[in-house]
């Protein structure tokens, strides 16, 4: 070292301790309080409003204790409830095994073309739940293409079950994919060294490790089905279900109290499964140790062929349904004139919202994606990486878990009740884009936040301590280090929020005004008005927009990873 080298160089470097500290207090405490306020207004108050509305016996609203007793004891309610339960249980019983096989094929076998199958399986996420229903009408309806294959027409129980099965398949698949992605190769080596065959290995290693996910998937499919009215409204026919009844009570008959009561009933299965799932999770704990070795499947001809057949069958079904929807949107006049045209895309000539709805949807989805990911990620950061304000952290954590247990239909009803309250200064928001964005963010909050939390937990827990010791304010550290490292996760959250906002109908159906009508709502309205071709066309537009933006963001994420490869590649494993 040079002899004139001295540590204190040109005096002490000037410091801005007090300003940094003040800024951090605003960033941390202010940020958390703001988040608490947002969550209270967007999640807690609407939920409370449901209970308030359900139990207040105002005239003509159909609420209150008396009405509740009448509702619960009425034969009509029993019929609706029975239908809902039958449909939901059937869908879950069909979807979960299929999704398990599909996920197993993708994670534990060596079938070719995994990326294609995976992409195709996600198709139902990209479109509103009405789309499978519309496609089924074209396939098996009274004038359906394959009408001859079945004895009765599709409207009714089986139509709903099929449509919901397609709609919920990717949701179940994603849970099972992530459960099956974790496997410790050492366990399988140990099993085979003790002479266990594949069946025994499955029973003793794979199944115990995934049965909790199977339960979670079952609950999710059940809840999604019982609260969805997109499919029943299209292919239900005379077969009525509870979700549709709630929708009709509020939108058709302005019976808010009755809607709230049914909303509360629909909240029960979600709350129940949420509780049991949380309990199971605690029971199971962490099954993967840090030293686990990644499982790599070995080739096996018979196994791979069987699974490929299953995967092909499922993908073919999905392709048939979605292809049918796209095709029917291009057909001039089903079934009499099968020549192709873009007539159904001339939305301006038909009722239901048209291009305005599409533009609104894109705006809403963009706002949801950008604002939502910023708020959710920053909130997750503050909760994960700052330790002071323990009570506040706990409150935020609990509040942000609530939306997971609340179906969109129920949340939407809550918004109607809360923001319509006479004297609520927030009433001005009713029917505006702001409220639609807020509701959509709140609805999809939990999943997005879990993605953010997972990404944040992979960062070195000492980063913040290091930044503080260097007298750097936390907000600067967040912007300079945390956000760049987590950018792929952030893009993932954006994609999820965008697609969800494009396709959602459950909550938005109660909140739009003629100026803020959304594309998915337009699908529902056009189908209601008998314009099934227009509904198919709008669904197709939503599908392609969602898929296009997803691909774009995936591409951006890949480019980003390539550009930052210099530091990501060699970065010490977190």
């Amino acid at each position: 070292m040079a002899a004139e080298m001295a540590l204190p160089l040109t005096g002490k470097i000037p410091r801005q301790t007090s300003r940094a500290e003040l800024g951090d207090r605003i960033f941390v405490v202010g940020g958390k309080l703001l988040l608490l306020l947002l969550l209270s207004v967007a999640v807690l108050m609407p939920l409370l409003a449901i209970f308030w509305r359900g139990f207040s016996a105002e005239d003509g609203q159909g609420g209150g204790w008396v009405a509740a007793r009448e509702l619960v004891t009425s034969a009509n309610f029993h019929w609706l409830l029975g239908n809902s339960l039958k449909v939901s249980l059937s869908v879950a019983a069909i979807v979960v095994p299929l999704a398990y096989l599909f996920a197993y094929a993708l994670q534990r076998t060596m079938i070719p073309g995994k990326r294609i199958w995976r992409g195709l399986s996600l198709l139902p996420l990209m479109a509103p739940s009405m789309l499978p229903g519309i496609a089924l009408v074209y396939l098996f309806g009274n004038q359906g293409m394959l009408r001859g294959l079945i004895s009765d027409n599709i409207y009714g129980f089986w139509g709903i079950v099929l449509g919901e099965a397609i709609y919920t398949f990717p949701h179940a698949l994603m849970i099972l994919l992530s459960a099956l992605s974790l496997a410790d190769a050492r366990l399988f080596d140990a099993a085979s060294s003790m002479g266990a065959g594949p069946f025994k290995a499955f029973r003793s290693i794979t199944w115990p490790g995934t049965k909790q996910a199977v339960f979670a998937a079952f609950c999710l499919v059940f809840t999604l089905t019982i609260t969805d009215f997109g499919v029943p409204v299209v292919v239900g026919g005379d077969y009525q279900v509870l979700a549709l009844e709630a929708y009709k009570a509020v939108v058709g008959q302005q019976q808010f109290g009755r809607g709230a009561l049914i909303g509360m009933v629909l909240l029960l299965p979600a709350l129940f499964s949420f509780g049991v799932d949380a309990w199971l999770r605690r029971q199971q704990g962490d099954s993967m140790s840090g030293r686990a070795q990644v499982f790599k499947p070995v080739p096996s001809k018979v196994r791979d062929r069987c699974y490929l057949a299953i995967v092909l069958l499922i993908c073919a079904t999905l392709l048939l349904v979605f292809g049918m929807a796209v095709y029917s949107s291009l057909v001039k006049f089903w079934p009499y004139n099968l020549s192709l045209s873009l007539n159904h895309y001339q939305f301006n000539d038909t009722a239901g919202g048209g291009w305005l709805a599409y533009r609104n949807s894109v705006t809403m989805a963009l706002c949801t994606a950008v604002i939502g990911s910023a708020v959710i990620f920053t909130g997750a950061y503050l909760m994960e990486k700052t330790r002071s304000q323990k009570g506040l952290n706990l409150a935020l954590r609990m509040l942000s878990f609530v939306p997971m247990a609340v179906p969109g239909l129920v949340l939407g009803l809550g918004y109607v009740f809360f923001f319509n309250l006479p004297g609520n200064p927030l009433h001005v928001l009713y029917g505006t884009m702001t409220l639609l964005v807020a509701c959509t963010i709140a609805h999809y909050l939990t999943t997005a936040q879990m993605t953010a939390t997972t990404a944040l937990r992979q960062l070195d827990s000492e980063f913040e301590a290091a930044a503080l010791s260097l007298k750097a304010p936390l907000y600067r550290h967040y912007w300079r280090v945390t956000v760049p490292i987590c950018l792929p996760a952030l893009l993932d959250i954006m994609r999820y929020l965008f697609v969800s906002a494009m396709t959602t109908v459950s909550a938005a159906i109660f909140l739009y005004s003629p100026d803020t009508i959304l594309a998915a709502v337009a699908v529902l309205n056009m189908d209601d008005a008998g314009n099934v071709g227009g509904a198919a066309a709008m669904s197709t537009l939503i599908l392609f927009t969602s898929a296009g933006v997803s691909l774009l963001l995936a591409r951006a994420s890949r480019g980003l990873l390539r550009r930052s490869q210099a530091w990501r590649q060699g970065a010490p494993a977190p």
Binding site: M1, A6, T17, L468, A566
Partner: protein, 358 residues
């Protein structure tokens, strides 16, 4: 790291004082009324098993945990209630916590915000020179070896000229071969800068190698605070004796001012040995001579049970004939092995090496 000539321009460090600091986590007492004085420019190691409170103490000093009671002073400033940013220390974490998306240069400059650009560039260059990594400015942490990453983290911690340097298990992420080398280098650099340093470690070799003084901690308390030599030669408590180095324990009953009864033996004790009427005697393995050539005090017959070869020396497990069933160890040079011959030996336990614990 290059610091051969740095002694001439040391910056006088500041003393640090810990006064009666306590910290509880629920029912667990992590720190129990701990006090510690670190002199200016001194390197003190907090040594102890995991869960002894050493890391909690470091984090309290850093302001990353808040103590329940007690006070912390850095120089003449009371920093007990200050935010981490206001305390003026640099810290080197076990994981280094280098920001992976920033270059080496940007990492080191991280704590220099607000200064003019040329000053920062000069400072970064000087720091890299100090840790011997000139030319790595544009690299990312992931492109460096573990040892190099440690140096960058050290340069980053030192760049804002803090008054105190905190080291949290700095060597544990390195493999054993580079560890000793880096320990020596880090020690030289610290000495040449004269910066007051507190290091947490569970590795007694590191502590012995680097520290001016060692505070051995157990159950949230400082058991002994002394120089490495004192800690080894005169452990203040049975825990310190047990935790630092190897040792033998012999139960005894005092039968006179100068002698103790151990099993069927009468052992002479040093004049300055404690006055306890009964308890345990402690003796380092290397203090025991096996088949001594010269006449010594406290000679007793014994029988070899097992000999473990350790390269330049051997560890011998034996039993005193008058204290059967009680295994003791001694260390002998490998060249002395052939001299042992039969399993029946004579061992000498010099009075000066027998320490009395009640």
């Amino acid at each position: 790291m290059n610091s051969s000539n740095a002694t001439a321009m040391t910056q006088p460090g500041v003393p640090m004082k810990v006064r009666n600091v306590s910290k509880r986590f629920g029912a667990f007492t992590a720190l129990d009324n701990v006090s510690l004085d670190v002199a200016a420019g001194e390197l003190v190691c907090l040594l102890g098993p995991s869960g002894c409170g050493k890391t909690t103490l470091l984090r309290c000093i850093a302001g990353l945990e808040r103590q329940d009671n007690g006070a912390l002073y850095l120089g003449d400033r009371d920093v007990s209630e200050l935010a981490p940013q206001a305390r003026d220390y640099g810290i080197l974490f076990q994981s280094y916590a280098l920001f992976p998306n920033l270059t080496v240069e940007a990492n080191i400059a991280y704590g220099l915000a607000g200064s003019n650009r040329d000053v920062v560039r000069k400072r970064v260059g000087d720091m890299l020179e100090l840790v011997g990594l000139t030319g790595s400015e544009k690299k990312f942490p992931g492109q460096l070896s573990g040892g190099q990453q440690q140096r960058v983290a050290l340069a980053r911690a030192l760049a804002p000229s803090p008054s105190l340097l905190l080291l949290d298990e700095p060597m544990s992420a390195l493999d054993a071969r580079v560890r000793e080398h880096l320990c020596t280098e880090l020690r030289q650099l610290q000495r040449s800068l004269g910066i007051t340093t507190l290091m947490v470690t569970h590795n007694q070799d590191e502590a012995m190698l680097m520290a001016d003084r060692i505070a051995v901690m157990n159950n949230g308390k400082v058991e002994q605070y002394a120089t490495p030599q004192e800690i080894y030669d005169k452990p203040a408590t049975p825990f310190v004796a047990e935790f630092v180095g190897q040792g033998n324990w012999l139960p005894f009953l005092r039968n006179s001012a100068t002698h103790a009864q151990v099993g069927g033996m009468n052992m002479r004790l040093a004049d300055d040995a404690g006055r306890a009427a009964s308890g345990r005697l402690f003796c380092r393995p290397e203090a025991i001579s096996v088949n001594p050539l010269l006449h010594q005090e406290n000679l007793f017959p014994a029988r070899v049970r097992e000999i473990t070869f350790l390269g330049n020396r051997c560890r011998m497990s034996f039993e005193l004939n008058h204290l059967p069933g009680h295994a003791l160890t001694a260390e002998v040079g490998s060249q002395d092995l052939p001299r042992l011959g039969t399993p029946d030996i004579v061992v000498a336990l010099p009075p000066a090496s027998l320490q009395v614990f009640a």
